[in-house]
C-alpha cells in the first residue's frame, strides 16, 4: 500500500505541490485528476523518486526516503517518448527482464505473452520509430508490466492520442490493469479517462489535494464548485435557483444551498414541476440538448428524450433527476 503524508515539492522556491496526503491500497487504481499546471505530474515524479520531496512517502509502512528510483520497483509510463529508439519492440519489452537476468527462453515467453495482452502480437521486430502513437503506448505499457511492478505510475498516458483511439485504449487499459492486478497511479486532466480506468479519484488544484475517495463518491459529492465543474458538472447553482431545483428533485433543503447540476439533470417532462422557455436546441446522436431559461432558476442545460422536438421559444416543462445533481457543502 502506498502512503503519502504531507508531501511537498519545491522548485526554485515555488511550491509545485504542498501537503498532499493519501493512501492507495494494493490492487487499486488511483487517478489524480487536475487541470494543467496543478502539480499532478510533479506528484507522480516525486513518488517515482525523480524529484526531491519533503514529507513522507512510504510503501507498506516502509519509508522510501533515500531509496533511488531504480530500487523502488515502481514502473513509469509517460505520454510519449520513452521507448528506446535503438531497440526493437521485443527488445524494449524484454529490457527489464534482461536487467533481472531472466533466461532467454523465459524472456521470449514473457514478451510474447505481454504483447498478446496489449494486442500487439507479432510486432516483435518492429522499431519504435515505425509505430503509431497508440502502438507505442501499448508497447510502453507491456514493458512496464513486464516485471510485475509493485506500483505502475502513468503520466497522462493517453493524452498524445486522438479521441477515437483514446476511447478504445482507455477500456483496454482498465482491462489490462485489472487482469494483471496491478496497483496503479494515473495522472490525467481528462475526467472521462479517470472515471473509466480508476477505482479511486484524487482531485488536485494549484498544488493542493482538494478531494480524495472512491470514484463514485467523489463524483457524487464534489468538495467545492470548482471541483464540480472540473468533474463534468455543467453548472453550479446557488441560493434561490439552487433551492428551486433541489426541491424540484425532491430533496429538502434548508438555508444556503449550493447545487451542482449535470447537463442531464433536467429532463423534458410534461408533468414536471419546473417550467421555462427554450433558448437553444441541438440534436446529437444520443439525445436532444437544450438550454432553457427556467423560472426561478435562470439559464440551465436540459435534455430531451428522443422523439421530442421543442422549438426555440417554446415553453416546456422539466423535471429534475436527483441522481444527477449534487449538493455541495
Amino acid at each position: 500500500m502506498l502512503s503519502l503524508r504531507e508531501v511537498s515539492v519545491r522548485y526554485d522556491g515555488v511550491c509545485a505541490i504542498s501537503g498532499v496526503s493519501l493512501d492507495l491500497p494494493d490492487g487499486e487504481i488511483l487517478a489524480v485528476l487536475g487541470p494543467s499546471g496543478s502539480g499532478k505530474s510533479t506528484l507522480l515524479r516525486a513518488v517515482a523518486g525523480l524529484e526531491p520531496a519533503e514529507g513522507s512517502i512510504a510503501w507498506d509502512d516502509r519509508s522510501l526516503a533515500g531509496v533511488p528510483t531504480h530500487r523502488r520497483g515502481f514502473a513509469l509510463m509517460f505520454q510519449d517518448g520513452q521507448l528506446f529508439a535503438h531497440l526493437s519492440v521485443a527488445a524494449n519489452v524484454a529490457y527489464p527482464l534482461r536487467l533481472r537476468r531472466i533466461g532467454r527462453q523465459e524472456r521470449a515467453r514473457r514478451v510474447a505473452e505481454l504483447l498478446e495482452l496489449v494486442g500487439l502480437g507479432g510486432y516483435d521486430a518492429r522499431l519504435p520509430g515505425t509505430l503509431s502513437g497508440g502502438e507505442r503506448q501499448r508497447v510502453a505499457l507491456a514493458r512496464a508490466l513486464a516485471v510485475e511492478p509493485r506500483l505502475l505510475l502513468l503520466d497522462e498516458p493517453l493524452s498524445a492520442l486522438d479521441a477515437g483511439l483514446r476511447e478504445r485504449l482507455v477500456h483496454d487499459l482498465r482491462r489490462i490493469l485489472r487482469a494483471a492486478g496491478t496497483t496503479a497511479l494515473l495522472v490525467t486532466h481528462d475526467q472521462d479517462e479517470a472515471f473509466t480506468v480508476a477505482d479511486r479519484l484524487a482531485v488536485v488544484r494549484e498544488g493542493r489535494l482538494v478531494q480524495e475517495g472512491p470514484v463514485a463518491e467523489v463524483w457524487r459529492s464534489p468538495a467545492d464548485p470548482d471541483t464540480a465543474l472540473f468533474l463534468g458538472y455543467a453548472r453550479v447553482l446557488r441560493d434561490g435557483p439552487a433551492a428551486t431545483v433541489a426541491r424540484a428533485a425532491g430533496v429538502s433543503v434548508h438555508g444556503d444551498v449550493v447545487v451542482a447540476v449535470r447537463r442531464s439533470a433536467l429532463v423534458l417532462d410534461e408533468t414536471g414541476p419546473l417550467s421555462g422557455e427554450v433558448l437553444e436546441a441541438r440534436l446529437t446522436p444520443d439525445q436532444l440538448r437544450l438550454v432553457v431559461d427556467v423560472e426561478g432558476v435562470g439559464e440551465v442545460d436540459a435534455v430531451g428524450g428522443a422523439g421530442s422536438h421543442p422549438a426555440v421559444g417554446e415553453r416546456v416543462r422539466l423535471r429534475a433527476e436527483q441522481a444527477r445533481l449534487s449538493l455541495l457543502h
Partner: protein, 572 residues
Amino acid sequence: MERRHLPLTRGSSRNRGSSRNRGSSHNRGSSLSRPLGLLALAAIPVAVLGIFFLLPVIGMVGRGFRPEGRWDVPGVLAVLGRSQVQSALWFTVWSATVATAVTVLLGLPAAYVLHRLALPLRRLVRAALLVPFVLPTIVVGIAFRVLLTGPLSWLSIDGTPVAIIAGLVFFNVAVVVRAVGAAWESLDARPAEAAAALGAAPWTVFRTVTLPALRPAIVGAASVVFLFCATSFGIVLTLGGLRYRSVETEIYLLTTNLLDLQGAAALSLLQLVVVVLLLAVGARLRAVPPSGQRVPVRPHRPGVGDVPQLLLTALVLGFVALPVGALVVGSLRVEGRWSLANYRALTSTGSHQALLEPATTALDLSLRIAVDATLLALTLGLLVALSVTRRTHSRAERRLRGTLDALFMLPLGVSAVTLGFGFLVTLDRPPLDLRDSPWLVPIAQALVALPLVVRTLVPALAGIDDRQRQAAASLGAGPLRSAVVVEVPVLWRPLLAAAGFAFAASLGEFGATSFLARDENATLPVVIYRLIGHPGPMNYGMALAASCVLAATTAVVMLVVERLRVPSLGVL
C-alpha cells in the same frame, strides 16, 4: 483489436518518427528542378571550394603524377610500397586511433559534468577548454617539453609515443566535450527515467539508454578528432623528437625538403583515401533512428553518484591546464624573477629586431583576418548547410546531398603543405592569378573552419520539423519568408556557436597561413614562430607572452559566444 500495418520505409522515419508521412508533396514540380535547385543553393560554396581547395590540391597531386610532362602512375604507386611509407602509415593509423579513443573516453565524463550538472563557472570552463585549439603547435610542443623534462620528468614519457598522444588529446578534448555536451543537453530524459523506474541502475541506464542515444554525436565528434589527429604535424614533430614519422610529416619532408613530388602525391592520395573511408564509416555509424521531440532539460545539482565523473573531469581540466600554466609561468619569468617585461616587450620588435613589425600589430592583423575568415566561413557554411538539409525525395538527390556533405569535410583531411604549395602553383596565371589577392589568407582559414561550421549547423537545421515550414507556407508565407520565420530562430544560436569555433580556429591557424605570407604583415602565430626562431634574451619570453595573449583573446571571445548561447541542437 485493430492492428495497423503501415508500409513505411526507413527513409521517412527521419521525420519525427510519425507514421503519417505527410511530407511536402505539394511542391514537387518537375523531377529535375529539385536537384537543380539544390545545386544552385550550393553553387557558391562549391565554387569557392573548387577554386581554393580542389584546384590547388589537384594541381600539386597532378605534378606528382606527371613528373616530366608524362603520366607516371606506376611510379606514384611504387612509392606506396616503400617501407618508410608503410611504417609511417601504420604509425599514423594507430596513433590517431588511440588518441581518438582516449579523447572520447576522457571527453565523455567532462561533457556530462559541464553540460548536465549545474556547477558554478561552467561557462567559463567551457570557454577555457577551447584555448588549446588556438595555441600554435610549436608553442604547445615547447610547453609540453618543458613540463616533461622538468616537473614531470618522473613520468619519463618524453620522446615516446605517449607524449605524442598526450599532445593530441590536449588539443582535441574540447571537440568531444562540446559536441557530445551539446547533444547531451538536449537529450530527452524520459527514456532514461523510464529505464531507471524499470530497475536499471544509473550505470546501466548510461550504458543501455544514454550512450546509444548519443551515438550520432559521439561518432561525429570522433571522426573530426580522428582527422585532426591523423593530419597532425606539429605535435608529432615536436613531441616525438623526429623519431616517429606520420604520413603528414613524410609529406612535409618530401615536398619542402626533397622536392619529391611523386612521393608527396602518393601520400596525399593515401590521406584522401583514409579521409573518405573515415567519412563513409562515420556516416554509417551515425544513422540511428531519431528519438522523439527534444525537450530541453534543466541541469541538475550534482549528487553523490556524480563523484566519479567529477573526479575524471577535474583530471581532464588539470591535464589541459598544465601546459597552459607552464606557458603562463614561462611568460612571467625574466631571468629567474617574476616580471611583466615580456608583455611590455610585445609592443617592440623583439631582441635584435627579430620582427619586422611589433607583436601588437600582428595581433591586430590576426583579429581582423579572423573576423573576415569567420564571416566567410559562416556564409559558406550556411549555404552548404541549407542545401544539405533540404527535404529530398529521390535517391539521386539524397546521394547528391551526401556527397556535398562529405565534400566539405575534405579540407580537414588534406595536408597544409599540399594546399599551401598548391596555391602557389595553380593560382599563378590569369584568369586565376590570385596569388597577390588579400583574400587568400582569409579564404584558406575559412576553408579549414568550414567543416566545423557545417557540422554545427546541419543538425540544427535537420531538426526543424518540416510541418512548421508547411504551416508557414499554408499561412501565405513564400519560401523566403517561411525560411526566415521558421529557420532563423532555430539557427541563430548554433550560428553563434559556429562563429566562435571558426574564430578560434582561424586565430590559431598556422600551417596554410605561413605558406601564404605575402609581406611583412604577419599574423600572430607566424610572429610567435619567428620569435622562437631568433636567439635573443627576450625573444623566447616574448613568444610565450604572445601565446598567452592569443589564448586569452580566444577565451574571451568564446566566453562572449557562450553568454549568447543556450542549449543548442548542434553537434559542436
